[in-house]
Subunit: 338 residues, 2 copies
Amino acid sequence: MTTIKDIAKAAGVSITTVSRALNGYSDVNEKTRKKIIEIAKQLNYSPNTLARGLVMNKSKTIGLLVSGLTRESTKDNFTFEVLAGVNQYVSEVDYDMVLFSTTSTKQREKTYTQLCRERRVDGAILQGIRVDDPYLQEVVESDIPCVLIDIPIESETVGYVTTDNVLGAKKAVQHLISLGHRHIAMINGYEFAFVSEQRLKGFQEALFEAGLPFHEHLVANGAFKEERAEQEAVRLLTQHPEITSFFCASDLMALGVMKAAKTLGKRIPEELAIIGYDDIILASYTTPPLSTIAQNKFAMGYEAAKLLIEMLEGKAQSRVRVLETELKIRESTVKNHG
Amino acid sequence: MTTIKDIAKAAGVSITTVSRALNGYSDVNEKTRKKIIEIAKQLNYSPNTLARGLVMNKSKTIGLLVSGLTRESTKDNFTFEVLAGVNQYVSEVDYDMVLFSTTSTKQREKTYTQLCRERRVDGAILQGIRVDDPYLQEVVESDIPCVLIDIPIESETVGYVTTDNVLGAKKAVQHLISLGHRHIAMINGYEFAFVSEQRLKGFQEALFEAGLPFHEHLVANGAFKEERAEQEAVRLLTQHPEITSFFCASDLMALGVMKAAKTLGKRIPEELAIIGYDDIILASYTTPPLSTIAQNKFAMGYEAAKLLIEMLEGKAQSRVRVLETELKIRESTVKNHG
DNA sequence: ATAAAAATCCAAAACGTTTCGGATTTTGTT
DNA sequence: AACAAAATCCGAAACGTTTTGGATTTTTAT
């Protein structure tokens, strides 16, 4: 493995000069720089990032901390798309990304801060962690720059990227209302999830603005799980047969509701209209295809990485990024659409 | 940031002793070890992996080099599941994983070896690279330990994990034959992909063993793309109306064939049976659900990581892992199944 | 009590890089 | 020609850890 020292010897200069030549400093003669670069190429030199990181006290590496990266979770490609987005930006600016998953068999006894400091990441992006996750506490207290996805916490060192969940939910419900629906049920995620809170708010606002009553009993929690949503939908539909449509806080749960409809023999969308949230891949492949509020998850990852690195380099204007959502109308709400 | 030196000072011992105490060496008194560990905890110490990696000349980090991690590619969650598997094992044995993607906007000018050496990974896993990819050349020549996924190259420093693609294809085709199909077309991937080669072989073997003729003109290349497969299927079906079933070398391409069938007004499976390969999530959500040969992609990632780390630590028996596949019978081949 | 053996500790070098402060050489000015 | 200024170079320290080889102390055996 050739080092800077080898180059220095070969070029007949000091290692200082080699370092400064390779890093583009101005106090080295262009001729010697050319020569050094040439020799470096010949010797097939590549810098040792460990040594560099050690002395510079930064690694040009960010951590992506996700929760729930298990075999099963791959159905929901939210995490994956975010990851792809992060990866994209990171590679554009020549950083590296290391993946931390909080669901090892033995629940990691290491704290968030330890994880980050030990691996010497300059900052971290947190995705998919719950509000009651102990990690979250630490983040705010720690001094490690970090960007949260879909959790609106802001401080000197932490920012976040999210979408306008109130507006997104509102658009979904307004769509249902415009189709003539008056008895709209909602399958939400779980208590205390920020997005759930916000989507419920959007749900209520849409009803209110349309002069429709809000009924607490038409809202159920599906825990973002397909099966739970199915159960809740069955329960709601039998207890409240007046329901003609569902707004679900995630596509996965909408799939559950579709199953429930099938079980109960209700035709979609004629007898029951269903709209989801996220626009996961599956959404356009179900029968009928699922209407939904699309979130650009790739962009969320991309923006998160961008924001984090801007923060690291001290050139972030604000620490918040809010992205747009888009209403995708498919056949689960409108017959023969497209 | 507290260092080993701080601990040494606080404990009144040398830094050598602290290092050896923390790393469980036997030449340190249990009482002092206890004390040192206690102090380390109090000072909230976490080791600097950069410094450690520098002196030990290894980073306990492996690289996952994937190709085609773009916004679009997320439909095919193959990569993601492999990644999840790699991540799982890696976190079990306290390694780290850094993700390299070869599809940055500017095609990476850095070579594979540079990438690995620069980031100081101890070894790498390569997934999704094509046979004509320049990276592949380098791998074999380089001395960096590495594990390939689905490319059977073996040397002192490189191993691979794959599934038995000949057998898998055979199982798929035998299934079609057992259903009475005699005119079976195949949509393969692209030329010179190892898995394509093998699956074609399995296709032929199954035909041969059943005493059926092999017709070159019933095989088309779909480039592992949905659209290409659709086009090819339309072409084949119009040119050769005797075809009653398709074996596709990937589920994504099978989706394309399903679209083709729909366009041509052919009912599945009555008029056209279709079987895919991979068992991606989408497969069980299409109408009708897609029969397929399931590969355990998570396991492939897990085994790849395991193999690589065994190789790194010099305790790998062999450098090859071949996993099983499973025939999943769904309604695209058998009406009212399940 | 003494020698040998075991246990426990430590100083210093090494890993490969960046950077500070200054030294040397070249160029420009008069 | 002499001096100032600019350009170019370099030695040494520092980053935080592991490890080598030996030094010191304690225990054991005689």
